[in-house]
Amino acid sequence: MNPLIELTGVQKVFGAGPGALHAFGPVDMKIEKGEFVSLLGPSGCGKSTLMLMIAGLLDATGGRIAIDGRTVVGPQTDIGIMFQDNTLVPWRTVRGNIELQLELRGLSTAAHRASVDELLASVHLEDFQRRYPHELSGGMQQRAAFCQALVHQPATMLLDEPLGKLDAMTREAIRTDLQALWIQRHPTVVFVTHSIEEAIQLSTHVAIITPRPGRVERIISVDLPYPRDFEVKSSPQFIGYVRQAQEIFRGYGVL
């Protein structure tokens, strides 16, 4: 069976000539259906660029990206994306923002009422659905943005540092919700992060990306049982994985 997402010699160069910036690659990588793959690397390594290229929102300079055997040429519309800055609009309530995804896709909001309710409940926002984004904390906003990216039930999700701007405690709480949702629905997830612990807690596989120009240094398969709660995180195996990643980054002088 073909992998769901297949990268072959993918690279990105910004500009041309002597001033060109080699941002990323070349990278080969395979992501199977239902996997949760983190792209873990320091800032500026091009992991967000890769995510945008997989989404078809940015053209690769070289190589080939295929999803489900089809080469990515333009924007992919059957995936769910969460950007670094959330895409909640200030003129809509939490619920309205989630429904914006449906409306832009021409889907009926009435037909999805129950599934929106369910999503809101799964991230504990049911009591805030009539609130506007500015009335919410940063963590609540990200939870709402997560629902927005998920409401059309995409089989593949691309998440670009969705927890990057949150405080440590909130991150922890949302991570737990995120993991619960993944266990329940099992979408294929590409998750961009610069937190080693976060990557190892959530992922089936962690792709370690080197500093610019970003390449996949190694893919660590994380063989730990789900749900990975507090217990698992204090286990020697978990700490072993964290150390493994830390060592690679130390080798690059990042840590």
Binding site: T77, F83, W91, E103, G106, H134
Partner: protein, 247 residues
């Protein structure tokens, strides 16, 4: 607080005239302006109506033409390279300087005043509309693209609401300028309206009536600005500028 400040201002005005013994033909106390203005209220109200029509017509035409043009320039790279530099250059031309020309071409009637109000209002609306429609965040535009939504649907659901706050900056600026344009156009050539009135009574050494005229011009400007602000509150109650006002 602000009412107390207004009261203090008019009291100081009233009594400084007495204290400093300023002649009536130079400056009149507010009390006299009120009584003399009241005596001439029919003419003042009629002229307020005349000037008001010029202001509203010129402003409305400016909004109706400027918004689509701003939208077109924001979305068309060809227009951006051709019309946009022209618009910016024309914006630098003091529009009021055209007033005598328009009056010599079109006479003393309504039309030249409407055109001058239109000119004064048109450019701030165009420039802000261009800014408004070309500054959607990269995230939101990528998000819209990733849903596969049509251009029209994206416009209605994302681009237009996102652009409204910046559009209103232009609407408000234009509203402030509109009465200025009308008054100056009337100074230059008119036989009615508040600008005409102020000029005539000043010539007759009647500063009291001139102030009464200025008062009604101010009311006119405030009314237009108030209407635009009301529209803003109704259309973009979610925007931070509106939220702060209503707090």
């Amino acid at each position: 607080m602000s009412i107390a400040f207004f009261a203090a201002f008019f009291l100081a005005w009233q009594y400084s005239i007495v204290w400093f013994d300023i002649p009536r033909y130079i400056l009149t106390p507010p009390s006299v302006i009120v009584t003399k203005g009241w005596a001439d209220i029919d003419r003042l109200l009629y002229y307020t109506w005349i000037t008001g029509v010029e202001v509203v017509l010129g402003y409305a035409v400016a909004v109706i033409l400027a918004l689509p043009l701003g939208l077109a320039i924001a979305f068309s790279s060809i227009l951006r390279r051709t019309i946009y530099p022209f618009v910016v250059c024309v914006e630098m031309v003091p529009k009021i300087a055209f007033a005598p020309l328009f009056i010599s071409w079109l006479g003393f009637g309504l039309l030249p005043k409407v055109i001058i109000v239109f000119l004064v209002c048109f450019f701030p609306i165009v420039l802000n509309a261009i800014l408004a429609f070309s500054s959607l965040s990269e995230e939101l535009s990528r998000f819209s693209v990733s849903t596969g939504a049509s251009v029209w649907r994206t416009f209605v659901k994302v681009r237009l609401p996102a652009a409204l706050p910046q559009c209103f900056v232009g609407f408000k600026y234009a509203a402030i300028n509109a009465t200025v344009g009308a008054a100056i156009a009337e100074f230059i050539g008119s036989d009615q309206g508040l600008g005409f009135y102020i000029q005539i009574v000043t010539g007759n050494m009647r500063p009291d009536l001139a102030f009464a005229g200025i008062f009604f011009l101010t009311i006119l400007g405030l009314a237009l600005f108030g209407l635009v602000t009301l529209a803003e509150r109704l259309l973009i109650p979610w925007h931070i500028s509106v939220r702060h006002q209503s707090r």
